[in-house]
């Protein structure tokens, strides 16, 4: 499968292995197609997880990671892409409905937008909250003081 992908997409994807686990780093532009192909042709029918990692020092600040599993092959694969701050990604809700909450969480925690998501809003933090806490520039003690004061009626949540 990897060899076939490499043949089709050439330099757009790079297959890697770490600690016995396969993953591929894919160009942002190939993401919609590769996810669709993985689901429809390669039987990766279970989207385990979608998450992101923030690298503020890099030009393309975010890694977005899809963890996929195929029941038929009993295999797991990770797809990683790098995007700029503010760049959006296509939603994979049409491919895997489970992506709905997972993408909402990525949006909530990192501020990454997914185009075509049916209901992209915060999921763990309250709707009016400012900031995305899993970004590296968001300090661990930081919080939206204004929100806390208005909605909880206390000076600070610390």
């Amino acid at each position: 499968m990897i060899a076939k992908f490499k043949g089709t997409y050439g330099s757009g994807m790079e297959p890697l292995t770490y600690a016995g686990q396969n993953y591929m780093v894919v160009d942002r532009s190939l993401i919609p197609e590769i996810l669709q192909v993985l689901r429809n042709e390669e039987q990766f029918d279970y989207c385990v997880d979608i998450t992101a990692v923030h690298y503020p020092k890099r030009e393309k600040q975010f890694d977005v990671v899809w963890v996929l599993y195929s029941f038929a092959r009993n295999q797991r694969i990770r797809v990683t892409t790098q995007i700029l701050d503010g760049e959006s990604l296509p939603s994979s809700v049409p491919i895997w409905p489970t992506a709905n909450w997972l993408e909402r969480e990525v949006y909530d925690m990192f501020g990454i937008k997914f185009d075509g998501h049916p209901d992209l809003k915060r999921i763990l933090l309250p709707d009016g909250w400012k900031g995305h806490p899993l970004r590296k520039d968001y300090d661990i003690l930081q919080q939206d003081n204004e929100w806390v004061q208005i909605n909880l009626g206390i000076e600070s949540g610390q």
């Binding site: 279970y46 909450w101 915060r122």
Partner: protein, 383 residues
């Protein structure tokens, strides 16, 4: 400025029709509601008593566990994972320790693996007992709660004797175990198994053929295997819908490949089948513990791990079959003593997403049954 006493910031849609034209009614359940097993808020859209759809509002217990992970060393973060699914703390610890072990490229010695399996399976039983007691209580049967809590106590006593804690045990260490088993550990476990085997029959006697139980659970909250896979639902819920998939068999971790056990499945994917699947799972856990405790090898309990852990740069995803489904950890290391990123893939969070689908067309009272049967722990949903 928002008035703190209204819920306007939560963006509740008001139906456009006048209130008394109750064709479609939006009502709120929770976040403080005895049957939501924590602080879960459900907004129900109803036609009379029939559920047209619902939306879950979560996050009330959000503590930023993943953020904390980035600011603690690998060892320091270990106890935090116990606080996610606090009724199955041992499983959380197992998943975390094994993921870091993969990053460090070490493996726990055989004795540690066996003790891990014993404690984790005991925890699966304890988690299922707590689920059964509270689920039955929600539906209106009080007795199972007393039975299951009485028996769960015996498991907690073993934990207490082993590591001093009963609930958030922090039983495992990266690389193996911190404590050797106490004198009489094996005897205690064996005694528990002998004590517990007839208790499962006792639970089943109360419920399996109980007419009220059947009425309240049969054909309630049905979900097909395909829908489960599409929604990423795992664990007993997936198996009750006829998909024979368990990570302990599919991608064995710890040393589960050495043990003989079956994976129960259901056919209908309804609340009753999920009940039956979990009952069989408890029996299978007893089988696994029995094999593990009688073959417990001697030897070291912890592998050679550095005091200051600095895994090489890299990223690893590893998951285990927690009592509620697939519990995964995705850890990115930048070569320092602290993880660069810890992502937890909680089974409860993903499974809860299926609540909407499972409740459509059901009655309000069934929503309670379905929340119970999904076996969610809000500490894990919100992290």
């Amino acid at each position: 400025m928002t008035d703190p006493h209204t819920l306007s910031h939560l963006d509740l849609e008001t139906p456009e029709k006048p209130f008394l034209d109750a064709n479609e009614l939006v009502i709120n359940m929770g976040p403080q509601h005895p049957a939501t097993h924590g602080v879960l808020r459900v907004i129900l859209r109803l036609d009379g008593e029939k559920v047209l759809g619902l939306e879950c509002v979560i996050g009330y217990l959000h503590r930023g566990v993943e953020k904390i992970g980035e600011h603690r060393t690998y060892t320091m973060f270990n106890p935090y994972v116990d606080r996610m699914d606090y009724v199955a703390a041992v499983s959380n610890g197992l998943g975390y320790c094994e993921t870091v072990e993969k990053l460090l490229n070490v493996e726990a010695p055989p004795r540690a693996q066996y003790v891990r399996v014993i404690l984790t399976e005991l925890n699966r039983i304890a988690s299922h007992q707590l689920w059964l007691g509270t689920h039955a209580l929600d539906i209106g049967a009080i007795t199972p709660l007393f039975y299951t809590f009485r028996d769960r106590e015996e498991i907690l006593k073993i934990y207490e004797k082993y590591c001093g804690a009963r609930l958030t045990t922090h039983a495992f260490r990266i690389g193996g175990l911190q404590y050797e088993t106490y004198a009489g550990f094996e005897k205690d476990v064996k005694n528990f198994l002998d004590f517990f085997r007839p208790k499962i029959d006792e639970y089943e006697e109360l419920l399996t053929t109980n007419r009220i139980w059947l009425e309240r659970t049969k054909n309630v909250g049905k979900i097909s295997g395909e829908d489960c896979i599409a929604l990423g639902v795992t664990g007993p819920v997936l198996r009750a819908s006829g998909v024979k998939w368990d990570l302990r068999k599919a991608q064995p971790y710890a040393n589960y490949k050495n043990f003989d056990f079956d994976i129960p499945t259901g056919q209908n994917g309804d609340t009753y089948d999920r009940y039956l699947v979990r009952m069989v799972e408890m029996r299978q856990s007893v089988r696994i513990i029995e094999q593990a405790v009688s073959a417990l090898p001697e030897g070291p309990i912890i592998a050679k791990v550095p005091k200051v852990m600095k895994p090489a740069v890299g990223e690893v995803y590893h998951s285990i079959e927690a009592p509620k489904g697939e519990l995964g950890y995705f850890i990115v290391s930048d070569g320092s003593t602290q993880p660069y990123r810890v992502r937890v893939r909680p089974p409860s969070f993903v499974n809860l997403q299926a609540l909407d689908l499972m409740c459509r067309g059901q009655l309000v009272a069934d929503v309670i049954a379905v929340i119970g049967t999904l076996d969610i722990v809000l500490g894990e949903v919100d992290r």
